[in-house]
């Protein structure tokens, strides 16, 4: 499985220069402005894009059928994408922390909320990824995008409907939970997602 991760990171290295530049610029802007939403969005985007892009590259070169003919098995392939996505999110979060510490010379009172926000954003990213990956594994990248869009649209619609009925479900409701809870939810959704993906993948024929 190490080989799979190496492969994905090597492709990223060779192909991701444009993406890396864009992310870098975006990060600098986001962190220097201290805008919470921008940071969240970035980690959100990273968590969705990275592993899906990796899967897209695999699909393009029909890597999977070859990989399964080697000593690798289906679980290895699934797990490697989760690890890849997870590593990208963690890197993004660490980068964010670095920037925050570098840019903000303020007191702990100013720093801590920002850092907390980063961790929360990372956790949300993990949850989003956990929802997205099984969909992509099942439908493939193309159809997976559509499916994911429908999920988001559906969630928005649900939020709207609940609002109409008087139940306010807004972002602020979530951002005030204890940090530990976020991490736990992220971890649980990560684990569950892997189980579901393994199930989906074991049935897949190549």
């Amino acid at each position: 499985m190490k080989g799979l991760l190496i492969k994905d990171f090597l492709i990223l290295k060779n192909q991701g220069k444009l993406l890396a530049l864009a992310l870098l610029v975006y990060s600098i802007i986001a962190f220097s402005s201290g805008n919470a939403d921008m940071v969240t969005t970035m980690l959100f985007v990273v968590s969705v894009i990275m592993p899906v892009t990796a899967i897209a590259y695999d699909e393009k070169s029909r890597w999977e059928r070859y990989a399964l003919a080697t000593a690798l098995n289906r679980r290895d392939l699934v797990l490697s994408k989760y690890l890849f996505g997870g590593l990208c999110i963690v890197c993004g979060m660490l980068l964010g922390i670095l920037f925050t510490l570098a840019a903000e010379k303020g007191s702990a009172a100013v720093l801590l909320p920002r850092l907390r926000m980063l961790v929360v954003a990372a956790c949300v990213g993990v949850v989003v990824q956990s929802v997205n990956l099984p969909i992509v594994f099942h439908f493939g990248v193309e159809k997976g995008r559509i499916a994911m869009f429908l999920v988001i649209a559906g969630t928005a619609a649900l939020q709207f409907y609940l609002g109409q009925v008087g139940i306010q479900v807004s972002g602020s409701l979530f951002s005030n939970m204890p940090l530990v809870l976020y991490v736990v939810i992220a971890a649980v959704s990560f684990g569950l997602s892997i189980v579901v993906s393994n199930l989906i993948y074991s049935k897949k024929e190549f």
Binding site: K2, G3, L4, I6, K7, L10, I11, N14, Q15, Y57, D58, K60, S61, R62, W63, R65, Y66, A67, L68, A69, T70, A71, L72, E205, F206
Partner: protein, 283 residues
């Protein structure tokens, strides 16, 4: 263990196509040509052998073990080449070394490097810029660099020019010098296999028509050529397929069944296949 690969009564049903009762044995030290038209079922059979798809019925044994219960060490001894190069095209050959080293414990970096040199493959160019022949040579180089004892290739030479095909054939012959190794290569280009294959398995519309020692096939079958008039006198039950034009008839027949005085020519493997599939049935 005499047979590196054993397949018994394999079955797989799709909506528009069915693979029925596929059986074959690949003895060690031999090359088996797996031939048939496009869509005859070669790729499906190979995918079943490699456990990429699940069979509806049947048994497959590799190195004497059930094919879906191979331990890692045995799985590493199977080298695979598909008709398209499956490596991500943004990687270079050098990148591949790093990746494959961590996929196959038995990957031999030096050997791979030497193969790249002798096949004249660039090490720092992204695979995207390789020609089709180069991509195929790369795939084969990888397959030959991890101590494989069984090579399975699905249409490795289609789309390649005769020069590259010849280079590839050389690699096979070198591989088979080790008596414990075996090659199963599927192709619809028969001429490559006709010379060097030890066994030929012919698949047509999902069924195995024959799986035989190549020399025996060549000894057994001939093409009889005669006039329409003379053709009438022949026992049609002995004719396995015939083709006629305005001026004469050509019929595939077992050499021992040829009536006296008739002109019979050696049938090539390709002709055997053509007559059996496209030839008219006489009875």
């Amino acid at each position: 263990m005499e047979n590196v690969l054993e397949v018994r009564k394999l079955r797989k049903k799709y909506d528009s196509f069915e693979l029925q009762d596929i059986s074959l044995d690949l003895p060690r030290g031999s090359i088996m040509g797996f031939v048939g038209q496009n869509g005859a079922g070669k790729t499906t059979a190979i995918k079943l052998i490699l456990n990429l798809i699940r069979a509806d019925a049947g048994e497959i044994k590799i190195f004497g073990e059930k094919h879906n219960a191979l331990d890692r060490k045995l799985k590493e001894q199977i080298g695979v080449v598909f008709d398209e190069c499956n490596f991500p095209e943004y990687l270079t050959a050098k990148d591949i070394i790093l990746v494959m080293k961590n996929i196959y414990r038995s990957f031999q970096v030096e050997r791979f490097d030497k193969l790249l040199d002798s096949l004249k493959l660039p090490k720092n160019k992204p695979i995207k810029e390789f020609s089709r022949g180069m991509k195929m040579k790369l795939s084969i180089a990888v397959a030959l660099s991890h101590g494989a004892k069984l090579l399975i290739l699905d249409e490795p030479t289609s789309g390649l020019d005769p020069i590259v095909r010849d280079e590839v054939l050389d690699l096979f012959l070198e591989f088979i010098q080790d008596e414990d190794c075996a090659i199963l290569v599927s192709s619809h280009i028969i001429s490559d296999l006709e010379k060097v294959a030890d066994y030929i398995t012919f698949i047509h519309e999902g069924k195995i028509i024959f799986s035989e020692n190549k020399d025996r096939l060549l000894e057994e079958y001939g093409v009889l050529k005669c006039s329409h008039h003379d053709f009438e006198q022949i026992d049609k039950t002995k004719v396995l397929g015939y083709r006629e034009n305005q001026f004469s008839v050509a019929a595939l027949i077992r050499k021992k069944d040829v009536p006296k005085g008739f002109l019979v020519e050696q049938a090539s493997i390709e002709e055997i296949m053509l007559f059996m599939t496209r030839g008219e049935r006489a009875s």
